[in-house]
Structure formats: C-alpha cells, structure tokens
C-alpha cells in the first residue's frame, strides 16, 4: 500500500506533517507495511492535507485529513472523494506544465522518467540549437513572469550572442501576493524545472544555470537543492548532459527579502552580490546579463513548460489558448475564496467563471467586491468586468494585467482605500530607490490617501496627478504600475474614498 501525503508548503501549513506521522504510527501499530510518499500538492488547497491511498493501482483521495483520521483512513471508512479526477476542480483542468505535480514523488528520478520526464530533453539532444529555439517559438510560449515576452525570441537573441560563456537564470523570486505556482512546481516537480533549464542551455549554448529562489520559500529551496544534487549524481547535468551532450551545471541561489529583485536586472545585480538596483535597458540581459555575459532570464513556469513542449510538440501546446495567448496558464486562486488553489487551464476562460463556478465564490459567503489579478501591481477588477477572458491582450485592453496569474478575491467587507494605501506603502517599502517618482512618490501616495481618509476630498486630484507622474517617470513596473491598483480602486469604488458616504453606507447596513 502506498500513501501519498503532500510535503508542499501549503499542505504543511495545514498540518500534513502531523498527518503523515499519525498515519505511519497507526500503520506500524497494525503491523501494516505502508509506504508513505511525500508528494507535491494536487493544488486543491481547500482540501489539504489531501491524502491519497493507493490500493491495487487505484489512488483514492481523502481530505482535509486530520491526524485523528488515521484510523478511519486505514480502515477505509473515511469519507472519500473517489480519485482526484472525480473532483470537478481537478477534472476541468488541462494540466501540461503541472501534469506531474502531486502525482509523483518529487525527488524520484525514476518516477519522473516513468511519467514523461526527460523525453523532451532526449529529443532536444538530437536537435540542433536553431531547431530547439524554433520549436519553442512555434509553441507560442510567452514569459510567465509577467511581461509575456515570447520565450523563443529571447532564446534566439542569446543563441546568436557571441561569447564562450552564457548563462540561464531562472527567476524564482515569485514575490507577487496571490501567486504560488512557482513554489508548487519547485516543491512538486523540481526535475521538470531542471530539465527546462538544461534544454535552454542546449538551445543557447549556455553551460551554467542559476535558480534564484526567494528566501521566503525555505521548502522550495530545500527540494530544489536536493533535486540538483540528485540530477548531478545521475549524470542528467554536469560535465556532459545525459552523458552525451555538452556541459551544463546548476546552482541554487537564495534571495534576501527584496520584492524588486524579481525584476530581472535587479535580480542579476543581486546574483552578482550587489544591491538589487534596477538597471536601465539597453543593454538587454540577453546580450549583457549576469557578470556581463549573454543571459536568458526566464520565470520558473516558462522554463518548466519547455519539457512538455519538446515532449508533445509545439503544435500540441499551441493548440490550446486564445488569440495570441497560446497554451495553458496555471492560475492561482487565492484570498477570500471557497475553493482556492492551482487551476491550470487553456487561456480564454472568463474571470467570472473562474471565481464563481470553479472557486465557488467567497469563503465568507458574502458577495465578491473586487478581484486583483497579477499581483500587487495589477488592477482591481469589479464584478462588471468579470466577463474578461484570461488572455494577455484581453486584460491589457481593460487596463489590467495577467502578470503571473494570481487571482486574489475580496468580499464586500474589503476597504478599497485601505488596499490602495497598502499598494503605495508596499511600493515605498520595496522601491529600489533609483527613481524619484517611485521612491518619493510612493511615500507621498500614502500621505495623500491618509488625507483622503481624513475627509479631504481635495486630495483626490493630487492622488490622480501623483499616479500619472509615477506611471510616466518610473524606470520599472514597481513604480510604473503601482498606480494601477490605486487608480482602479479609486475609479471603481469611489464611495470607499469618501469617508462621509462610507460611514453613512456602513450605518445603513447595520
């Protein structure tokens, strides 16, 4: 009997370690041999700890499981969901990037290979550099870190850049509130990211890779570090990729609590041991990246999607999606939702369907007030915009962004002025300090919103002007996009910025 108890950080935060211990103790008490596998999460966080028991090749799912459920679980009397595929939230997904997450033992290369792992890499090893890049380009894959830049075009620039030393840098800084797909992938299928980075190396001639993981993710750092060691010992990476290819080795680096280091040039400075100040572009990192050498900087999800593209072919991947947004996006549904978690689906699903049908509305049972998509720099969308389909251009047309596809739901108790203030405060705390509109503007933004909260309606035009200045005068999207959550909150929820009206509405409600 095999029993899967996730080691994913969210499962651990909901008690999966104690559940694993209780199951092991109960099995030992009965003299049963139970092999407990600490897998990644299936992504249904509201059911975590979600335990799967495999008998006769069928994996039955139970959850949320508490330590006290161990007896009923082993008796087979605990309420069962059937297999995960019987759960509608799971059944409705198209899992390409996340196909193995939660399915396999994250640190077993055998398990990885038994579920399609390394097929893409083997195919890439038989291709020339231009062929690999052409395949990635044809898939339509765009950067999943936020900017949506075509991955194949970035790789082509690095491939054509001269120089004996090139680098692949994986951006695993995942600082956006409401996002956790990078974390889940690294904890649940680390070899997939490694495989993607090796393929990027083959395609561009880079022989060294760095994974820059934020320090807020100790579990992901531990799993990735183990996986790199295992891959090196097995000869997947090292002096010769898979024993036949060129050299490629990997190193894990840990961030130090700076949100701005998710911006690619700031990240490169940080890797070099400098302050994480944003660099002006040009030069592009593709031409002068880390240590001044040509560098691919890609998000975890961009790189981890490459293996399945090579495995199944560009046309298969590009066959999913909407308009110029090809393939699938691992959506992260968070905040005040009944069913939060990771939902990978082809681009094109309307926002409202995700929030109401898939996530089941709010956790509190109250009406949805606003949804922030794309992290702290993303706009707040009111229910009137919930018909917007998930797609880069579709969101752009609404003055919103998909970013890293975090979807944070707020119920009607949310105070949009408070959230706008937080956006400015966050920008002030995290600004790298290079440009005045961001460094000083964000501090002024907090003060101005406090004046509005104090009843000074005359400060509203000041806030609008300040946002314009920040948009126009900031070098990167931290200063440049903070106005989006602020202005969308102000535009769609003006009552929250009128203290007298807000107080009246509140007393009327009571």
């Amino acid at each position: 009997m095999k029993i899967y108890v996730p080691r994913d950080a969210a499962a651990r935060a909901l008690g999966s370690d104690a559940v694993a211990e209780a199951i092991a103790a109960e099995a030992a008490r009965r003299g049963q041999t139970a092999q407990i596998i600490r897998n990644g999460s299936r992504g249904m966080v509201w059911l975590e700890p979600l335990v799967e028991v495999e008998r006769d090749g069928v994996r039955l799912a139970y959850g949320p499981v508490a330590p006290g459920d161990a007896t009923a679980l082993l008796d087979g009397t605990l309420r069962c969901h059937g297999t995960v595929a019987d759960i509608p939230f799971f059944a409705r997904q198209t899992r390409l990037t996340f196909a193995r997450v939660g399915l396999i033992d994250p640190l077993s290369l055998e398990d990885y290979a038994a579920h399609g792992g390394l097929v893409g890499l083997r195919r890439a090893l038989a291709m020339d550099q231009a062929g690999i890049v052409a395949e990635v380009t044809a898939s339509g894959l765009r950067g999943r870190g936020g900017a949506g830049f075509p991955t194949g075009i970035k790789w082509e620039t690095v491939r054509n850049a001269p120089g004996p030393q090139k680098y692949i840098v994986c951006n695993a800084d995942e600082g956006d509130s409401g996002t956790f797909a990078d974390r889940m992938l690294m904890e649940g299928d680390p070899f997939c990211l490694i495989e993607g980075m090796v393929i990027a190396g083959l395609a561009t001639g880079a022989t060294k890779g760095f994974v820059y993981i934020r320090s807020e993710y100790p579990d992901a750092i531990a799993v990735m570090s183990d996986a790199v060691r295992i891959a090196r010992d097995a000869g997947v990476i090292g002096a010769s990729v898979m024993g036949t290819g060129p050299a490629f080795d990997l190193e894990i680096r840990v961030g130090a609590g700076a949100y701005v280091c998710g911006e690619e040039t700031s990240l490169l400075n940080s890797l070099e041991g400098k302050r994480g100040i944003v660099r002006a572009k040009p030069p592009l990192p593709a031409l002068e990246g880390v240590f001044g050498k040509p560098t691919v900087v890609n998000n975890v999800l961009s790189l981890a999607t490459v293996p399945v593209i090579l495995e199944k072919g560009a046309a298969h991947y590009a066959g999913f999606g909407l308009g110029r947004s090809r393939g699938t996006m691992p959506l992260q549904i968070a905040g005040n939702v009944a069913r939060g978690g990771l939902f990978e689906t082809a681009f094109g699903l309307p926002l409202g369907e995700i929030i109401h049908d898939i996530a089941g509305g709010t956790a509190s049972g109250r009406p949805v007030k606003a949804v922030q998509v794309g992290g702290p720099l993303g706009a707040y969308l009111p229910p009137s915009q919930f018909d917007t389909p998930i797609g880069y251009e579709e969101f752009d047309r609404k003055g919103a962004l998909i970013g890293h596809a975090g979807i944070v739901v707020h119920d009607d108790s949310a105070d949009m002025l408070n959230l706008a203030r937080f956006a400015m405060e966050f920008c002030a705390v995290e600004s790298c300090g290079k440009c005045t509109p961001c460094r000083i503007g964000a501090v002024r933004g907090v003060e101005t919103i406090d004046r509005i909260a104090g009843g000074d309606a005359g400060a509203i035009p000041l806030l609008t002007d300040l946002c314009e200045t920040m948009k126009d005068g900031s070098l990167c999207a931290l200063g440049g996009f903070t106005p989006y959550p602020v202005m969308s909150a102000l535009t769609h929820f003006p009552d929250d910025f009128a203290p007298a009206r807000k107080a009246a509405a509140q007393s009327a409600a009571e």
């Binding site: 935060a13 320090s215 130090a256 070099e272 905040g335 956790a363 739901v409 959230l419």
Partner: protein, 162 residues
C-alpha cells in the same frame, strides 16, 4: 535561531566567509552563511568581507542594508513572520497583525522583553490559498501555518516560545 552564543573570533568569521568564496558573486551567500551561523551579520565581519572581495567596507554595508533579510543585531530566539500582503488581507491579516502586536507587546521588527520572539512583517509566503499565513523561523527549521486565527496564533506562540 542563534547557533553560536558568543561572538565568533575573526578566524571563525573568516572560515565562514571562505566557505563561500568559490562561488561566482559570493556576497549574498556569504551574508546568508554568516546569518545562518550567528543569527545576524556582526559588524566585525564587514571589514573581513570587504578585504576578501576587494571592495570597500561601505559597499558591503550598502549591500547588506539593501536587503530586508540581513540583521545587524541579534533577533529573539524565534522570529515570527506574519504575511501582510493582499491575499492574506482578504482573510483578516490586518486583524491578526493587530492581535499579534497587542499580544506580544511589540510593533513590527520589535523583540519581546524576554527575548523570546521577534515580530517581522513578510510580504507573501506563497500560502495565499490558505490565508492568513505565518512562518516561524527560517531555512531548515521553519514552521508554517495557514488560516491562522488569533486563537491559533496564540497556540502557535505557546508552542514555539513556551
């Protein structure tokens, strides 16, 4: 968190610094290694790092202070980090933070009088689907908790800081 009680000698500091010198761009790994071993980055280490890397002491200081993680002074025996970011706010993180500050009698970055707990804000732990979230301590010994109610927070505190 502190693994070494008294301040280490220059030789011990140099040994930690040298353990990272084979890396490309070793400064952040050095600062992390010092903090992991000592609980903070002691003043005495800065000139030693500067000398090894052939940069000025001011540059080392500038890098260290840029990042929120590095501490110039020791923290309490446990560091409790409460997420302040949007998904957690949607599930009551502001109320949790108010409760924690009142309960511990400290503001953000403060350490309780008995030296047991330092309270830090954190901006997202990737636990946004089980918000609000808390992490106690860091690499290698971290405790995570999701859907943290004020009562659950008190229980967690009692457990870690006894």
């Amino acid at each position: 968190m502190t693994l070494i009680d008294s301040l280490p000698s220059d030789a011990a500091l140099c040994a930690i610094i040298d353990s990272q010198m084979h890396l490309e761009g070793p400064l952040l790994p050095i600062l992390h290694a010092l903090q992991a071993a000592i609980g903070h980055v002691p003043e005495a280490a800065l000139p030693l790092i500067a000398q090894r890397l052939n940069i000025t002491r001011a540059e080392v200081h500038g890098v260290m202070t840029f990042y929120h993680d590095f501490r110039e002074t020791p923290a309490g025996r446990h560091v409790v980090k409460i997420c302040r970011a949007e998904a957690c706010k949607a599930m009551g993180a502001d109320q949790l933070a108010d409760h924690a500050r009142a309960r511990l009698g400290v503001d953000w970055h403060g350490t309780t009088a008995d030296g047991a707990v330092t309270l830090e804000p954190i901006y997202c732990l990737g636990l946004c689907a089980c918000a609000p979230a808390v992490m106690v301590d860091g690499q290698g010994q971290n405790r995570l908790m999701g859907r943290v109610s004020p009562a659950a927070f008190d229980a967690l505190l009692a457990e870690v800081a006894g």
